[in-house]
């Protein structure tokens, strides 16, 4: 592992208008890791991702990516450096076809990992390959999730911020999504996974951060978290 993490978030405050959501939140991700950020509804998970990608600007603290300060950059700038957000509820373009949804992301971001061509991405997601000319809105929830991930790959992401990728999906599709996340990781892509579902995190992530009321309250490997009944019970509502 390199000396400096790929992404380091150092004591950031962030929120919406006068409402502060994140309080001195810090976390770090090394290249090639899958790291999860897990917590209850309203804990600040999505706010963390939105601040990292640049939709929100932290009011204090710094965010560094590949050694550079990206705290004040907006989304259009962070994405060209190799970050990608796969937002909650996927947010694919409903009126565009599957192919167009991928084309729009294909604008050559600066990237260590070679960005996937549209054909390569379609090769990876077989369901999508059969429906390239269908409108995004005609896809099922799981397929939309795949499309949103494929879009990030076509955009040349090195670090993907995945916001609740399994939310609202049937259990067997959750398994498909988890397989995809592993496959991404095998291709050398780093993943920050935000989840409410602890089991997904425990199964996928190398390390886990537990967030509560805008603060990181725990950090540990899957095995450590799984063994820590107190944290599981207190912050995640899981009784072992």
């Amino acid at each position: 592992m390199s000396a400096e993490p790929l992404l380091s978030v150092d004591a950031i405050d962030s929120g919406y208008g006068d409402t502060q959501v994140l309080r001195e939140l810090s976390l770090a991700i090394d290249e090639g890791e899958i790291v999860s950020l897990v917590g209850r509804n309203g804990a600040g998970k999505t706010t963390t991702l939105r601040t990292i990608i640049g939709i929100l600007t932290p009011t204090s603290g710094t965010i560094r990516y590949q050694g550079e300060d990206i705290s004040t950059l907006d989304a259009t700038e962070t994405v060209t450096r190799g970050l990608a957000l796969v937002p909650e509820e996927r947010q694919i373009f409903p009126e565009l076809t599957v192919r167009e949804n991928l084309q729009i992301a294909d604008h050559g971001g600066a990237s260590d990992v070679d960005s996937l061509s549209i054909e390569e991405a379609l090769e990876m997601f077989e369901n999508l390959k059969e429906r390239t000319e269908n409108a995004g809105s005609s896809l099922s929830g799981g397929e939309q999730q795949m499309l949103a991930i494929a879009r990030a790959l076509v955009g040349g992401a090195d670090l993907i911020l995945l916001d609740e990728p399994t939310e609202g999906l049937a259990p067997y599709i959750v398994q498909d999504v988890m397989d995809i996340v592993r496959e991404l990781n095998d291709r050398g892509i780093t993943v920050l996974l935000v989840e409410q579902n602890v089991h997904v995190c425990l199964e996928l992530a190398d390390r886990n951060y537990v967030i509560n009321q805008g603060e990181i309250v725990y950090e540990g490997t899957a095995a450590e978290l799984e063994a820590n009944d107190e944290i599981l019970d207190r912050y995640l509502g899981v009784t072992a």
Binding site: I55, A75, T78, F93, E95, L96, Q103, H107
Partner: protein, 652 residues
Amino acid sequence: MIGGILQQLVDGLTIGVVYVLLAAGLSVIFGVMHVINFAHGELFALGAYFALALIAPFGGTAFFAALFVAPLLVGIIGVAIERFTVRPLYGRNPLYHILLTFGLVLVINDLIYLIWEPGNVNLPTPAILSGTIDVVGLNASVYNVFVIVFGAAMALSVWAMLEHTKYGLIIRAGSQDRQMVRNLGIDIDRYYSLVFGMGAALAAVAGIILGGYQTVSPEMGMSVIIPAFVIVVLGGLGSFKGAVAGGLLVGIIQTLLRTYAPILEGTVIFLLMIGILLVRPRGLFGVEMEEEGGELLTGSGGVLDDRTRKWVGLAAVGLLALLPLGAGTFYSTYTVTLAIEILVWALFALSLDFVMGYTGLVSLGHALFYGLGAYAVAIALLHVSQSAFVAIGLAIVISAAIAWVVGYLSIRVSGVYFAMITLGFAELFYNMLYRLEITGGSEGLFGISTYYGIAGVGIALDEIGLFLGPVTLTGQSLFYYIALAALIGSFLLTRRMLNSPFGSVLKSIRENEQRATFLGYETTRYKRRAFVVSGALAGLAGGLFTLNSGYAAPSFAYWLHSGEVIVMVILGGMGTLYGPIVGATVFFGLEEILTGFTPRWRLVLGTIFLLFVIFLPRGLVSLPARLKPLVTRDSGPGAEPAPDDSHMRGDD
């Protein structure tokens, strides 16, 4: 007969193509930026005037060069407009874009008057486009054929650009979800200027080809903008396909009606739009769009406490009551006439504020009710009774009844569509005024006299004069008190309503309609009731005007009137009831002062209004609260030490 119809179809297609080019830009601009661009008609006129200027030195042959260069220039102006006026308003409620572009209409239109001569001018066309040509047995003018072919080629290339280029892909994606486009690393704001510029250029092309077909005049923009909106709305806001289908449809229908059923011309397209919106609230090809956030910025939250406010109000009323006494001594009697106009418009603005500022219903057709009141009074006085009381009573009842019908039909659609459907109703009424016999056609009704009383007993103000020592109260002065009483009465009535539980529901609807629904309120019914009250008060305002002036004209219901009253509400401060009164006073005061210096007062007024929308959207009444920190800092007791000074700033 068949030949005649075919000929009509060719003419209809020609006009249709002009509409398509105009509506396409309008629709795409809305789709991507959610901006309702009222200035689009003025850009259209600018295109024709630029072409006129370019062709003048060279003659008709320069037409083709102008067809290329003029749209380019207008496109650049479009980019500048987007960058410097539209851009600061992104993220606010789309209403502010309507207001902004309405201000631009005033400014650009007056600039056209300033630079070019008023009146109709012919746009020279090249010899090659004159004469006729045989098309499948039909003798068509070469110019028509050129317009249809050229316009079709333009529309096709815009379509191809939208469908098959990266630029078009980004525009289409942006019209569905702007933030997500940004999340993909695309700086969509850069594309906004281009889209606006492109729309402006298309409008310019439309202006040039219509100028060559008919004539060029400063009013040409105003006359096409409303049909263009109808097309965009009935086709579906943001849909290119809808703009094309709607443009051709309206062009052909209008042309056919002009020949075969002139009485329906001008009304059918509005009926068509209203009908389509009622069946398909998103238009023919419209799709569900992300709901625009951005609250309406009200002017509430002043610096005065309730007690002081009450005293200021009473003092203002007292001063107003004294105003006619000084007429003829301290100032001319014209002051009273002007003051009556201000009172009437203040009442009109107050009526709009009641629905716009308190329930968030942006009525773009409020002149409908003003016109209804005016005509109801005129017709009642001419045909029913000469009693002013009977006439004004009828005006209120009729305006309220029509407001209920309009409200019933239009409140089911929301936001921009509501604005458009109310505009449609007002234009429908405006066009009917021209065509009906009972309303006196384009001349309107005039020479109406009345008396204040009932059943033949009362007084006529025209022939009265009260002599109180040095003070003379003319009939005009006495009417002033009637208008003042109507305004104060309406103010107290609406304020009382707003302080009742009914008012709380209205305000909760403005803040968040869905939450009001979750609390168990049937919001549609509350909105409709508020709309009826507002319509009745607007009718009262229009009725008062006709009572005093003795005439009613179709222009009362013109869309510019609806726009002006919105200007007054915003100028003063929406959602305050007294703000619109301040706004009406300042509006007429400015007009009065400016007309003394320049006939182009709209240019100055429009500019002031633009600055207001951009920098002071909460209106004049918010000024004291904004200035307060500055004032308190300057007039602090003695020299404040520096740290305290910074503390004050931190407080803001």
